[in-house]
Subunit: 584 residues, 2 copies
């Protein structure tokens, strides 16, 4: 049977930076070509970055993407790589640019270009647009109408873009078209506890399509999404042949032996499920037999390590892609800001992390000593700015009490952080966790201030788990555990009045998080949550807090998606929303 | 020909408050019935409010809407209004609740219920989902598959929901079904300078469908949208028969003489464009001849009055629907906060509007006197809190200079406003205009603080026009012009350093607004903007400011949509976006 060497380029593009992404693609084509690959496959929309949202509908951006794709194909030939088949995701446009109701402006398409011999020899647009959770593709793209089959060295190769793989159809289409290999470019964000759904799906589709399947995903953070890579290849029996490590760039090679294309060319007007099957012959001649190489098969990470890595990569790329030099965060000695400090040091290195301790009249002694201990262990920069003089200056005019006085302290801290940020150029981190965000247990324009929120999608009980995991990981690797034990073990407090504890306002976090899981993650109604065995009064309390906190959530900085229902792009409800769940 | 009295209920529902909306509908049914109407028509999704976004996919909410619709039909019969045909928009669900990829969770539909005799006798779901600009319906709803024709007193009546009217099809369907009247329930947000596109469209569709057409729209504010009503009725020749006033609730009656339904019932399996035509006979007997009443025909408002009213209604409903008692805003004496103060007084009454003057070391004398003059003219409450002591307290620790020092003053003001808001329960208003928002000319966590931004979609040059219009309107009505002349005529300044003027950082507003119109409203690329005759350096400057200000815009409070490209729901681009327009 004919052989093919396929390279999967698991790379980290930057949304909007077409020149950077072109250079990134070219560099990986060179490496693939040098290593003898016949096909190199890139992630979905690698040339523009992903997701581009309403940028899709800017005529100047569509034109830039199309021009860059043509130039890339020419450049490959100019650099004597014209024989390499490069499959590159980009932003394309329906020919003739139709307009009208129901067609996104400028008729953009989420497409792949098949480059060979200095030109784009085939292009295929995504059929099934991703239109739920964090995906908004029905708003931004025109679905494709073709299935492309490209013959490469005597092997028929078909394409399915991301979401297309999840629907019934593409593998059946590959089978109908008698393709021996299905290429699947993806922009598939990380989500915790997916088990191994990607491998399971790839294996099933390969068996259904009677073809090998190469799945390539991007890596890196993009605003609220983190892409984890996990690119993989299975054979037509669904057996795993190769798998890339998560969260890092990699050029994964696999050698395949595949059935030869049938001699007879099917009719040019073949269709499948309303999609036109387009065939292109790049080369009918099989490659000379060669000795296959072995491929790496990475083991997926354990749950806690996977989440921690996602948080680190999300923060790192938000900082790098937005060209910040450093981050600054308020360090209260509490577990949330302490974990954020550890994540920041892992993401950027200690020399780019600046902590501020802002003791007030109500701060405990350990709030300062725990922050100092974190700085000592990790090497981050820590300074102290006491807030009593500023708080007093406000109180001389305003004489606030109760909640207004509590919030004042939090806001004075935020003004200090933002002043230092403006003066020294740091990105401010907001250190709230998902349980707080869900219930509105934060001060707007106070601790909610910042440009990025590293743990906004991490529930409080998971914050503790991750802290313990990080310390255990350090110990297992002979390093100093970064997180002071006292930050993990002490009872959580906002320290905005004497003796305050979170449990004064909220149920214990084990119960709160379980109710939030039912009400938010699983979308159960309040009555259904009670039916799971929770106390009705507690459920009513939590549900009311969640329903009323939407405005605060909207104003919170972006942070990396970890769960199926993050409070960014996943779950969009009106601010003015008087829907109240009833328990009856 | 048979007669029908149709009532169009132009009402203001509240998103999520199903009980309130049910009562509102019932009250209007009573009034319509009492006035002898045979049909009463309500806006799109009036029972749930609109738009409901991801609430559509909560099973408990779908169930509440369906239950409320059934109860409403029963209630109408119980109150002896069973003979009235009530056409009520609600959140429905595909029978059997199919699930799978491509189907929104719980299979929700944007539907209307036709109520008669104590039950729902027909239901029709929207065919063409609104999926551009501020609409996200493809994410939230399953499109409908039926066209319903209901015979009422011997007249065949068809239905087209909102967006369905804009596509080719529904009027042709009405014609194919030989309906004599097309009912069109809408949730159509206000947008300036639409000319009279609604009337033109209704007239064209009526002629195409050879049927009279009754178009009902909601009124009121919902987060970033304002619905302006403008309900209207045209006859089969496209002549305007009745029109409701904009921005206020109204029950509009019209008497129609319409062709009788043909005796022969078309086949039960008729289809049009893939939609199944379902027929229901409510009553075949024409009503006894009666003397028709005349109908009001309101004149649409002039452009400036229309925009001003939209801003007033948007603010009023955000305050009322979120149950705030009052608003608080910083009054700098500049035109933006002054106009916001005037709008707030018009929306809520002076006794619910609280202004704060926060003079600093760099404030001019007129910043205080102009604010006092506004308070004197309108009667709003004004207090003064000087910020120098608080600024000094921060500077003792931080010694900030330059932009950091400027921002510090703005943020200290915001802490004062939020302290007063927390202590006294006011909603804080952010007073920035669209030109500032576009270019990022504001301080995040400073003047950008607040729960609602009344003029965030109003460009600076329009701010001045609206201020002049408001004063002229007062003079024409023998009232005191609310806005001090000096606030309109003085050159704009942030007053954050000595002698500062906006033109130190930005082009003159006439030029800036024209460039923003091309780059933002019309989506032109930078090179195309230059080709319109603007200076290339100025365009590059403005485009760079706009591209880099996305994070600030995201953090800005919501405000009423006025233009085709507001910076809320209309235009969604990534924060991490390195796309840079090139002039070459």
């Amino acid at each position: 049977m004919p052989q093919l060497r396929v390279a999967l380029a698991q790379v980290n593009p930057i949304v909007g930076n077409v020149a950077h992404n072109s250079a990134l693609i070219l560099e990986h084509c060179r490496a693939a070509h040098e290593a003898g690959a016949h096909i190199v496959l890139f992630p979905e929309m690698v040339l523009t970055g992903y997701p581009i949202e309403d940028l899709a509908m800017r005529a100047s951006f569509v034109a830039a993407s199309r021009r860059a794709a043509d130039e890339l194909a020419e450049r490959l030939a100019a650099e004597k790589m014209g024989d390499l088949v490069a499959v590159v995701g980009f932003l394309d446009q329906v020919p003739g640019v139709p307009s009208g109701f129901g067609i996104p402006k400028n008729a953009p398409q989420n497409s792949v270009a098949v480059m060979h011999g200095g030109e784009i020899v085939a292009r295929q647009a995504k059929h099934h647009l991703w239109n739920y959770g964090v995906g908004d593709e029905a708003r931004n793209f025109v679905p494709g109408s073709t299935i492309n089959v490209v013959q490469v060295h005597g092997v028929d190769v078909a394409i399915a873009i991301c979401e297309d793989l999840w629907r019934d159809g593409p593998s059946a289409a590959a089978r109908a078209a008698e393709a021996a290999l299905l290429l699947v470019p993806n922009g598939s964000p990380y989500e915790a506890n997916k088990d191994d759904v990607r491998f399971d799906l790839c294996a099933r589709r390969a068996v259904e399509g009677e073809c090998a399947l190469a799945y390539v995903n991007m890596v890196g953070g993009q605003d609220e999404l983190v892409f984890d890579g996990d690119s993989l290849v299975v054979d037509a029996e669904g057996r795993l042949l190769a798998r890339a490590a998560q969260f890092s760039e990699e050029l994964l090679f696999v050698d395949l032996e595949l059935p030869a294309a049938t001699d007879t060319m099917p009719s040019t007007d073949a269709t499948f499920s309303g999609l036109h099957i387009e065939r292109t012959i790049v080369s009918a001649e099989p490659v000379a037999p060669y000795e296959p190489l072995g491929s790496p098969v990475a083991t997926p990470l354990d749950d806690l390590e996977e989440i921690y890595r996602a948080l680190v990569v999300g923060l790192r790329d938000y900082v790098e892609k937005n060209e910040f030099r450093s981050v600054l965060l308020g360090l209260s000695g509490g577990i949330d800001s302490t974990l954020c400090g550890a994540i920041a040091v892992d993401a950027l290195g200690a020399e780019r992390v600046f902590g501020v301790s802002n003791p007030s009249a109500y701060s405990t002694e350990h709030s300062r000593t725990d922050a100092e201990e974190l700085a000592r262990r990790t090497g981050l920069d820590l300074r102290t700015v006491a807030i009593a003089p500023m708080v007093d200056a406000f109180q001389d005019s305003l004489s606030l009490s109760g909640l207004a006085e509590e919030n004042l302290q939090s806001r004075v801290r935020a003004v200090v952080w933002m002043g230092l940020s403006n003066a020294e150029g740091h990105l401010v981190l907001a250190c709230g966790n998902k349980s707080e965000l869900a219930t509105g247990y934060s001060t707007i324009y106070g601790d909610a201030v910042g440009g990025y929120a590293p743990i906004k999608d991490v529930r409080k009980t998971l914050v503790w788990e991750l802290a313990r995991w990080r310390n255990a990981y350090a110990e297992a690797h002979g390093e100093v555990p970064p997180i002071p034990e006292n930050a993990i073990s002490k009872p959580p407090s906002a320290e905005l009045r004497p003796g305050q504890l979170d449990t004064d306002s909220l149920p214990p976090y084990e119960i709160l998080d379980a109710i939030l899981d039912a009400y938010v993650e699983r979308d159960l109604g309040a009555a259904a949550v009670v039916a799971e065995g929770f106390d009705a009064t507690t459920v009513e309390h939590v549900v009311t807090l969640v329903d009323r906190a939407e405005y605060k959530r909207r104003q919170y900085p972006p942070g990396p998606k970890v769960t199926a229902r993050n409070f960014g792009r996943d779950r969009r409800v009106p601010i003015t929303n008087r829907w109240r769940e009833h328990l009856g």
